[in-house]
C-alpha cells in the first residue's frame, strides 16, 4: 500500500539517510578521589571534563532524624533558611550574587541528611563556591526570613491537606512511624512548625553543621587538587567535630493494624494505601526491597496488566492502578486508586474497600509460611518483584509472572531467594497501616479524617 502523495511536496528533495546507531559503549562510573581536610571535612572529587560545568553537594548529618523531640520540622526549616542570608550578604544580595554568576544554589533536608547543592559553570566556580561556603558555615538566619519560611511551611501544610494524594501519604507515614509524621497525621504538624523559632534554628545549625559531619562532593570540570585548594581556602577555618549520630527510630508506631480514613469531599478519586515499616537503609535487605524506584517504567507496565475483577463489580470508570511507593526507606507500601460510580460509592463500596485492603495484606502470610514458589526471576525485574513480595505478598506477584513468562530465560541471572528472604522477614499483616482516601458523594462540612480499627487493631482518632 503506497501512501497518498501530499500536494505541493511532490518535488521536495528526499530526506538524507538516517545515521545508524553507534556501537554500544560500556559505562564506567567516573573515578573519584577521597580526601580529608585538616578540620575533618571529607572531600570527594570526580573529574568529568565533558562540559565546563561543576556541581557541588555538601551532605551534612543534619536530617530530620536529628529533629529534637517536640521540634519536628526543625531540620528542614534550618536547611531552607541557610540561603536566606549570611554574615556578609542579606537574602536579596545573596540571591542577586548567585544569579549574576549564573549559578543555582539550593538547600534542603530529608530524613537522613541536609544537602546544600551548587551547580555553576567552571569559570565561575571559585566565586560561586565562596557564596556556598558562606551559606554552609556562616548563615545569619535573619529572624524575619525564618518567620517567612515558617509561614510558608504552614501554608504548604494547608496545601497538603487540599491534595488527597499528598495528605494520604503523610497520614500513612504517620501511621507507621512513631514520632515525626505521626504528629502530622494527628493534625499537630502545624503546631510543631508553629513553635519553631529563629533561635532554635541557629542552635540546630550550631549543633549539627560541622566539618566533621559533612561530606563535600565535587563533580565536573575541576581537578581534585584545585577543589581541595578552593575548599581549604573557603572552609579551612570552619571548625567542629562530627555530631552525635541521630538515633534512627524505626519502631512500629503502634501495635496492631490500623485503618486511617481520610474524608475528602472534593477529591475526584478514592485511593487506598497500605504501608508497613520496611528494612533500614543500612541493611542488605534495603535494595532488594525498593526495586520499583529503579524500574519505575516496568512497575507502571506491570500495574496496568491486572484485570480488576473486583473493580468491575464496583463499576469503575477506569481500572484501578497499583503503584508501589517506598517512602524514605522506612515505609514500604502500595496504593490503589479508583473512581467509583454511584453504585460503588456508598455502603457497598465501603465494604469492597475493606476487601481490597485485605487482598493486599493477606497473601503476605503465604510468604511467611515459605509458600512462595522458588522460581528464577530474570534480571532486572528481580528487584521489582522483590519489592512486590515484600510489600504485598504473593498475590501481587501475579502480573509480574505474566511478563516474566515472555522474557527469555537466558536473561535470568539470579533466583528470587533474596527477595523471598526479605518478604518473609517483613512485618506481619497486622502490623500494617492503611491510609485510605474516601470520596463520598457529598459530605457536609470540611474535610475530616477518621480512624477505624483494622483487623485486630484498635480504634483511634487521627485528625479532624
Amino acid at each position: 500500500v503506497s501512501a497518498p502523495a501530499v500536494p505541493g511536496l511532490s518535488n521536495a528533495p528526499a530526506a538524507p539517510p538516517r545515521p545508524g546507531p553507534g556501537a554500544p559503549r560500556p559505562y564506567h562510573f567516573p573515578p573519584f578521589e577521597r580526601r580529608t581536610l585538616a578540620n575533618g571535612l571529607t572531600l570527594v572529587v570526580a573529574t568529568v571534563r565533558r562540559l565546563p560545568v561543576v556541581s557541588v553537594a555538601a551532605v551534612v548529618d543534619a536530617g530530620a532524624a536529628a529533629d529534637p523531640a517536640g521540634q519536628e520540622g526543625l531540620a528542614v526549616l534550618t536547611a531552607r533558611a541557610l540561603a536566606e542570608g549570611t554574615a556578609s550578604l542579606d537574602a536579596l544580595a545573596l540571591a542577586d550574587r548567585v544569579e549574576r554568576l549564573g549559578a543555582s544554589l539550593d538547600a534542603g533536608a530529608d530524613w537522613d541528611a541536609a544537602v546544600v547543592g551548587l551547580t555553576t559553570l567552571a569559570p565561575k566556580l571559585d566565586a560561586a563556591f565562596e557564596v556556598m561556603a558562606e551559606v554552609l558555615a556562616r548563615p545569619s538566619f535573619p529572624a524575619y526570613e525564618v518567620e517567612r519560611l515558617r509561614q510558608e511551611r504552614l501554608a504548604d501544610l494547608l496545601h497538603l491537606r487540599s491534595d488527597p494524594a499528598r495528605w494520604r501519604r503523610r497520614v500513612r507515614g504517620g501511621g507507621v512511624r512513631p514520632r515525626v509524621a505521626l504528629r502530622a497525621a494527628r493534625g499537630r504538624g502545624e503546631a510543631a512548625v508553629g513553635g519553631l523559632t529563629r533561635d532554635a534554628v541557629a542552635a540546630f545549625h550550631a549543633a549539627r553543621y560541622a566539618p566533621g559531619g559533612t561530606t563535600l562532593v565535587v563533580a565536573g570540570d575541576v581537578t581534585a587538587d584545585a577543589a581541595e585548594a578552593l575548599v581549604a581556602r573557603t572552609l579551612g577555618t570552619w571548625a567542629g567535630g562530627a555530631p552525635a549520630p541521630a538515633a534512627a527510630d524505626d519502631r512500629q508506631a503502634g501495635a496492631g493494624g490500623r485503618v486511617h480514613l481520610v474524608a475528602k469531599p472534593d477529591a475526584v478519586q478514592c485511593e487506598l494505601r497500605v504501608g508497613h515499616v520496611g528494612p533500614r537503609r543500612d541493611t542488605p535487605d534495603y535494595l532488594p526491597a525498593r526495586g520499583d524506584e529503579q524500574h519505575p517504567r516496568r512497575a507502571v507496565q506491570l500495574a496496568r496488566q491486572p484485570q480488576p475483577a473486583r473493580a468491575q463489580r464496583l463499576h469503575l470508570r477506569r481500572p484501578h492502578r497499583l503503584r508501589l511507593a517506598p517512602l524514605g526507606g522506612a515505609v514500604l507500601g502500595g496504593e490503589r486508586g479508583w473512581r467509583p460510580t454511584r453504585r460503588g460509592r456508598r455502603g457497598r463500596g465501603a465494604l469492597e474497600i475493606d476487601r481490597m485492603r485485605d487482598e493486599l495484606v493477606r497473601p503476605r502470610r503465604a510468604v511467611a509460611r515459605d509458600e512462595l514458589p522458588r522460581r528464577r526471576v530474570p534480571h532486572p525485574l528481580r528487584d521489582h518483584v522483590g519489592h512486590r513480595v515484600g510489600a504485598h505478598g504473593l498475590r501481587a506477584l501475579r502480573p509480574a509472572r505474566r511478563l516474566l513468562r515472555r522474557l527469555p530465560r537466558a536473561r535470568a541471572r539470579r533466583d528470587g531467594e533474596d527477595v523471598r528472604r526479605v518478604g518473609a522477614r517483613a512485618p506481619a499483616p497486622r502490623a500494617t497501616c492503611n491510609a485510605r482516601g474516601w470520596r463520598p458523594a457529598r459530605v457536609p462540612g470540611r474535610s475530616r479524617a477518621r480512624v477505624r480499627a483494622g483487623r485486630g487493631g484498635r480504634r483511634r482518632a487521627v485528625a479532624r
Partner: protein
C-alpha cells in the same frame, strides 16, 4: 515575596512558541491571609514598573548569565541534547540554530528589552487568571463516610 510579603512564590516564563503569539506568564501564589485582589494589584504594579521604568543593563546581564548557564548545563544529558536539536530542527528547520542561541541572547540589550516591554506589556494586552479556593459545600443529606463504612462492614 520578601519585601511586600504578599506572595509565597512568584516567577515568570514564556512558552517559547515558534509561531503565532507567544505568552509571557507571570505566576504568583498568595500568602495565607492575602486576598486575590491584593496579589493581583501587586503583580500588576510590578509589570507596570518594568514597562514604565525599564530594566537596567545589570539586570539584563544577570538574566543572560542564567540563560547561558542553563543552556550549557542542559547539555549534560543525551536526552536534553536531543531535545534541543529536535526543537530547532522542528521549529526552524535547522538543528544547528541551537548553537547560535547563546550568541543571540548575548546580542539583546536593555534598550531592546524596554522597547519590548513598552510595546507588549500594556494593560490592554493582559489577562488575569485568578484561582481561588472553592467554598465547602453544605449538604446534610449525605451520611458521614466513617458511619457509612462501619455500617457496610456490619
Amino acid at each position: 515575596v520578601r519585601e511586600q510579603q504578599v506572595a509565597s512564590e512568584a516567577h515568570a516564563f514564556t512558552y517559547d512558541l515558534p509561531k503565532g503569539a507567544d505568552v509571557l506568564v507571570c505566576d504568583a501564589v498568595a500568602r495565607p491571609g492575602v486576598s486575590a485582589e491584593a496579589l493581583e494589584a501587586a503583580l500588576a504594579a510590578e509589570v507596570e514598573r518594568v514597562r514604565a521604568d525599564g530594566v537596567t543593563d545589570a539586570e539584563v546581564e544577570r538574566a543572560l548569565a542564567l540563560v547561558e548557564a542553563a543552556f550549557t548545563i542542559g547539555l549534560q544529558s543525551a536526552a536534553d541534547r536531543a531535545d534541543q536539536l529536535s526543537r530547532f530542527a522542528t521549529y526552524f528547520g535547522d538543528p544547528a540554530v541551537a548553537n547560535a542561541q547563546v550568541d543571540a541572547y548575548r546580542a539583546v540589550t536593555a534598550e531592546r528589552v524596554n522597547a519590548f516591554a513598552r510595546r507588549y506589556l500594556g494593560e490592554d494586552n493582559r489577562a488575569f487568571l485568578v484561582y481561588v479556593p472553592r467554598e465547602p459545600s453544605a449538604d446534610a443529606a449525605e451520611p458521614d463516610p466513617a458511619a457509612a463504612l462501619a455500617g457496610a462492614a456490619a
